[in-house]
Assembly symmetry: C2
Homo-oligomer: 345 residues x 2
DNA sequence: CTGAAAGCGCTTACAG
DNA sequence: CTGAAAGCGCTTACAG
């Protein structure tokens, strides 16, 4: 298990534009131009340079380029956690989108405490833009980023007072669709398990949900707090469901799928009730697991693809034009009917 | 939705070490030294510099530092997909480990085709090290990276002929434990659903599994190919299980949890059979969903924490000492007994 | 189209 | 301990 491999010669890629220039018998500037899209070089020069570059295995140093041009083509992506599948999926999509447009993702996992430290690091790396996914920066810090002129997009978060642009799905409409679906499904005691109280997703989903109920002249039967965690949701489910049948909900809207799975586990395994026989469950996000047959969860689709595309688009537009104007993109929400809730006749 | 925010002044953070030096009335070198751990600066100078830096909001430019020092403190992380939860989790852990040690993850999602393109980009960014997770580079490319002197660690992959170091769990032992568990559980027709034929994880898990069976004088009843995909696994399950009871397996080892969920869905929902009543299912990885009650999957733990720690350790050791010696770390595998397979008496 | 030169913001010998 | 100077590898006006 201990083959030695050649000691590395130095710490960096050895071949520079100067060396290519020497071999090609042109100036170093000429080499640079060949590797700068849009720069004017004669075909003959280009040919000589490309040949020399190939021989030497030359690759422009992205760091040097970033220094001199003031464009790192680096996008900081801040994430707090990846256990809710929605985030890895959107991270994958976003990363592919950005790569396709010549940018690269610099990943920052945020810790609960030290936001300052994270921002400091981000700014040190001279990123061209910032995307905040599950993470939320204090508005002070978001403002600090904005002040340095770096575009910021919050993905799946909207903060009215922040200068950052945002990309969300239509959480209000999604909540409304779910309420409508549940009422029309004949449910009479409809409850809500909330995510984090301070999150815009929870606020909007809940507001839309109540509005949807109100449109049918119905009010929510009960509410519990799950905080977007697995354990919090399980506890909320116990609170709501450990009662006599007439006293407990016959339908629950859980603020995201991740929590809904925990809720379903408690209801079926711990309480021995059936879904949707005893209680209907609906979630939000339509993460891949929602389609798994063991859950078969009725949910609202947030298209990670569309969210990633829109985020990349807004960010790059703001990077490449100097007009940094706050944008708030809201993507359509779509109901996905599966088997975890009674279906309207 | 269209608040204007101040136009960004320039493209980069405006304050440089020179400006701090001017304000603090010291040389630019002195400023640099204050921000270089271990450099010798008098307390008085340090004080003056820190004060000026705070006033101006100075942060050293990491790119400039990287250029001059030949250390970018950037680690390229190559991943092919994130839908198997094992990868996001290990990505999160690894990223935290590296951040804690002053490194940052530069994420590269690989596309099936253009490996060259990815390697080119990685090398352009002057990364100090490379981690390959679900991605596999052709051995040519791995060798090319190694030749430039950049340490490479393959995570959850082992390639004997590659100069790259590796971190895996003990897949052979894990397979063996599962075989032993299944045989002792009284199963008589034990089948295997394979991952990707060319992957080291599949090869080792399968080899260990057969060895474990052999130790009991048993041979595998059947085998199908799932290719580590959800759909492949579902199809493999149909192939194996759509037969008369005596002709089909009474236990299946599925090469990873991600596939096992698909297998369980097919068996229960499509075929109407019970687990473990009609057939026992065991998986490998112990991803979070394996503990979800709807699956309650007996599996083998790969500690993502330990794998991330070891990867960071090996990588950083190789970066910070010049001796680049191939290392192959194999972490212990542990059986986790849940309810998806009959338990030995 | 092309080359010489300046400069991005920093670290690090080198003298003192 | 400190400052002046060189230099990391590049892009980009500026002349020609």
């Amino acid at each position: 298990m201990h083959d030695t491999i050649p000691k590395r010669p130095g710490t960096r890629s050895p071949v520079t534009s100067g060396e290519v220039a020497r071999l090609a018998r042109v100036s170093q500037s000429a080499v640079s131009r060949v590797f700068t899209p849009g720069a004017s070089v004669s075909p003959a020069t280009r040919e000589k340079v490309m040949q020399a570059a190939t021989v030497l295995g030359y690759r422009p140093n992205a760091l040097a380029r970033a220094m001199i041009s003031g464009r790192s083509r680096l996008i900081a992506l801040l994430v707090a956690y990846l256990d809710n599948q929605f985030y890895p999926i959107v991270l994958e999509q976003l990363s592919r989108q950005l790569q396709g447009r010549g940018y690269q993702v610099l990943l920052f996992m945020t810790e609960p405490g030290d936001q300052d430290e994270v921002v400091r690091r981000i700014l040190q790396y001279q990123v061209d833009g910032i995307v905040m996914a599950s993470a939320t920066l204090s508005s002070d810090l978001a403002r600090e980023c904005a002040q340095t002129g770096i575009p910021v997009v919050t993905l799946n978060r909207y903060v009215a007072t922040s200068p950052a642009s945002s990309v969300t799905s239509d959480n209000i409409e999604g909540g409304r669709l779910l309420a409508d679906f549940l009422v029309r499904g004949g449910h009479e005691r409809i409850a809500f398990i909330a995510g984090a109280e301070d999150s815009s997703t929870n606020r909007d989903r809940e507001a839309g949900f109540y509005r949807g109920l109100a449109e049918h002249g119905v009010t929510a039967f009960d509410r519990a707090l799950g905080n977007y965690t697995f354990e919090g949701a399980a506890e909320a489910a116990r609170l709501l469901m450990k009662r006599k049948p007439a006293k407990r909900p016959d339908a629950i809207f859980v603020a995201n799928d991740h929590m809904a799975f925990a809720v379903m586990d408690v209801i079926r395994t711990e309480l021995g009730l059936s879904i949707p026989g005893d209680v209907s469950i609906v979630g939000f996000d339509d993460v891949p697991e929602a389609a798994w047959k063991a859950y078969d969860l009725t949910s609202v689709t947030q298209s990670s693809q569309a969210m990633a595309e829109t985020t990349a688009e807004i960010l790059i537009e703001q990077i490449e034009t100097s007009g940094v104007r706050k944008r708030a993109a809201v993507l359509p929400a779509k109901l996905v009917v599966r088997g975890s809730a009674k279906v309207p006749l």
